[in-house]
Amino acid sequence: MEKILTKKALPQWLIKLNAYQIYAPVKKENHWSYEALDKPESIRLDHLNTIQSPKMIIFPQREVFFEFHNAEGNTLVMKEPASESSATVIFGVRPCDAAGVTHQDKVFDGHFKDLYYWKRRNQTILVGLACNTPPSPHCFCLSVGGSPHSTAGFDILMTELEDSYYVESFSKKGDTLISLAGDIFSTPKENDKKDKEKAHSDSEKKLKRHIKDLETVPPKLKDMFDSPLWEEESLSCIQCGICTYLCPTCHCFDINDEKDSSSPLSGKRVRTWDNCQFPDFTMHSSGHNPRPDRASRLRQRIMHKFNYFVTNYKAYQCTGCGRCIDKCPVGIDIIEVLEKVRDYGK
C-alpha cells in the first residue's frame, strides 16, 4: 500500500492510533531519544540519531523472567510476571535501526525461541522514516548492506517530501495502521513517486562515510585471530559498554537473581543486557578468563559482527548507524578498524 500524508495531518493519524502504545523520537537538551508519546501534536520527525535505537523498547535492558518464592512445605514457586506489553507502534525509526531489529530477530529465533523477545516483537509495529540527510555524521549504512531508505524490518516506511510524507506499507499490520485513519491519506501521484525516488537517490549521495570492499573483511578475519592488530587498536579502549549497549544489533545479556527477601526466600530472575567489553562477561568463577584483556574483547566485538555472525546468519551484525563511533569516549572508529583489517598485510 502506498499513500501520501500531509505533514500537517501527521498528528491526526497518531490520534487515531490511540489503541496503541506509541513511541517516537523526542528532542532533549543535547540529544534525541525514543519516548512514549503522550501528546500526538508534539511529534517531530526531524530527528537525528536517537541515543538508543528502538532496541530499548523491543529488547528492554531489564526484563523479569519470573518471580519466585519458597512456599510452605519446602516447595519452590516460579511465576511469570503478568503481561505488561500491549500493541506498540514505534514511529520515525531509521532504516539502520530497523535493520538492527531484523538482525536481533535472527538471533532470538534460533534453535531455541526466546519467547520473551517474541512476545514484544510480535506486538511491535515499526513505522520508519527514510533518511533524506544522514542523521549522524558517521552514518555508513550503504557499506553494510543497508541504505538510507531500506525497507528491511519495516511495516511502514515514510519518506519526507516537501509538505508531505510518502507512506509505504509492507505488511498487514502496516495496512491496518493506515486504514485506521484512511480518510486523511491520499493516493500518491506520479510526481510524488518521482520525488520520493529522487529523495532516496539523493540521500545516498549525502552519506559521508563508507568502507570499501567490506566483503573482503569476513574471510580475512578468519585468519586474524592472533593478529597484533587487536592490541594496537585497543590501546585506548577503556572497556566501557557504550558501543555495545547503544548498538542496535548487540543482543548479549545476563541473567541474575534479585532477592527481595532471604528468609523466607522470594525474588525475581531478571534478564539484563550484558556486553562483551566487560571483563566479567566471560570470566569463569575459577578466575580463568578466556578473553583476559581489552585486545581480546575488541577482537570479539569485531569478529562477532563481521565474521561469526556472517558465518551463522549470512549478514554483518552491523547496520552502519554510527552510534559506536559517535559515542566512543576515546574515538575508536569501527570503520577505521575495519579498514585496517581490510588492508592488513597489504
Partner: protein
C-alpha cells in the same frame, strides 16, 4: 600559549633519547575534529601529535592500564611513560601519587598549559555550529578560539563553546611536570562552584525530580567509571562477581561477593551506583569531568562530584591534587570539622 612544535620537540627528545618507553598524547581522528588519545612508540610517529582545545581527554587514565600491564610482566621495562598533561589532569597525577598508585619515576610529564581558555565542550560546539562541518579548533592568545569550518575560519568567544568546568578551573597550568609548555597560567574564576548554584537553590522535590530523570536514564555502561583515572579498583561495588580471583581464593569468598547494587538499571540501583561513585571520589576527583563527557546518556555527572568537591573545600578546607604528602580527605580530620548536623 603552547607552541605545538615545542611540544613535539620535547616529546621527540625524550622518546628518541630513550628516557621514556612511549608517549601518551593526542592525535587527530580519521574523521572529525575532536582529538583522540594516541600512543606514540616511535619518534617519527610524533608528527601526528596535536595539542588544541579539543584535547579533552584526561590521559592520566591510561596510567592505570600501564600499571596493570606492568604488574603482569616478569621483567617490565622500568622506564617512565611520557604523558601529555593539562592542569586538571596534573592534579589527577598528584592524587595517584598521593595514593601511592604510581611512583613519580613512573611518569615523565609533558605539561601543557591551557592559557586563558580551556577545552571545548563538544555539545556546545555542535549547538553553536549546527550542521556545519568543522575541521579544526585552535587556541588564541586571548579568551577565544579560532574555529575552522568548510566555510572558513571564525573567532568564537571561549565562553560560548568551552566546557563549564574550564570556566571554574583554577589550575590552567600543570601543578606537577617534568617540562612545562605554555608557561604558568594563573586563573582566578569568580566563583569556582558557580555551576552548582542553580541546582542548590532548588527545592528538595525539584532536586529529586531532576536527578530521578537524569539517573533513570543511566544504562550502566560504566563509561563514567571506565574513563575515570581514579576508578582503579580491581573490583567495583557494582560488579556481580569477584575479579580478584586467584587459585587461593576460597569459594566462600566468591559466594559472599556482596550485591550492593543489582545489575538492573532501575532508578534505585542507578542511584546507589552513582552515589557510591561520588562518595568514593570525594577528595579525589579533580574535575576533569571526563565522566560527564563520556556519558552517552547525557547525564550531568559532574555535578555530583563537583558538589562534594565544594563541600570538601567548604567544610574541611581540602584541596584535591596539590599536595601529595598529606593524607586523603577521608583519611584525615580536623578537630574543628563541622558537626552542626549531628544531634
Amino acid at each position: 600559549m603552547v607552541a605545538l612544535e615545542d611540544l613535539k620537540q620535547e616529546a621527540k627528545n625524550v622518546l628518541e633519547g630513550g628516557t621514556v618507553k612511549y608517549i601518551i598524547g593526542y592525535k587527530k581522528p580519521a574523521v572529525g575534529f575532536m582529538a583522540v588519545p594516541a600512543f606514540f612508540h616511535k619518534p617519527e610517529d610524533l608528527d601526528a601529535l596535536v595539542w588544541d582545545p579539543t584535547c579533552v581527554h584526561n590521559l592520566v587514565l591510561f596510567l592505570k592500564d600501564e600499571k596493570k600491564k606492568k604488574l603482569g610482566q616478569k621483567e617490565p621495562d622500568e622506564r617512565p611513560v611520557g604523558i601529555v598533561v593539562k592542569g586538571c589532569d596534573s592534579r589527577a597525577v598528584n592524587v595517584l601519587l598521593q595514593e601511592n598508585y604510581i611512583d613519580r619515576e613512573n611518569v615523565y610529564i609533558l605539561g601543557v598549559s591551557c592559557g586563558k581558555t580551556g577545552m571545548v565542550d563538544l555539545k556546545k560546539v555542535r549547538k553553536y555550529f549546527k550542521g556545519k562541518i568543522i575541521s579544526q579548533i585552535d587556541f588564541n592568545e586571548n579568551e577565544s578560539f579560532t574555529v575552522t569550518t568548510t566555510e572558513g575560519k571564525v573567532e568564537v568567544p571561549a565562553a560560548d563553546i568551552f566546557a563549564v568546568r574550564c570556566t571554574e578551573c583554577i589550575t590552567a597550568s600543570p601543578v606537577i611536570h617534568d617540562v612545562l609548555l605554555g608557561g604558568d597560567s594563573v586563573r582566578t574564576p569568580e566563583n569556582p562552584f558557580g555551576s552548582l548554584e542553580e541546582m542548590e537553590s532548588k527545592s528538595q522535590g525539584q532536586k529529586w525530580d531532576f536527578w530521578q530523570e537524569q539517573l533513570t536514564k543511566c544504562i550502566r555502561c560504566y563509561a563514567c567509571r571506565s574513563i575515570c583515572p581514579m576508578c582503579y579498583c580491581d573490583e567495583c561495588v557494582v560488579d556481580t562477581i569477584n575479579f580478584a580471583v586467584y587459585p587461593d581464593t576460597p569459594a566462600e569468598e566468591k559466594a559472599q561477593k556482596i550485591k550492593w547494587v543489582e545489575k538492573s538499571p532501575t532508578t534505585s540501583e542507578n542511584f546507589i551506583y552513582h552515589m557510591v561513585r561520588a562518595i568514593h571520589l570525594a577528595g579525589r576527583c579533580v574535575d576533569c569531568a571526563e565522566c560527564e563527557r563520556a556519558c552517552p546518556m547525557d547525564i550531568p555527572l559532574r555535578f555530583l562530584n563537583k558538589k562534594l568537591e565544594k563541600e570538601s573545600k567548604k567544610l574541611f578546607d581540602y584541596d584535591v591534587g596539590y599536595d601529595t604528602e598529606i593524607p586523603s580527605l577521608i583519611s584525615s580530620f580536623r578537630d574543628e570539622d563541622p558537626e552542626d548536623f549531628i544531634r
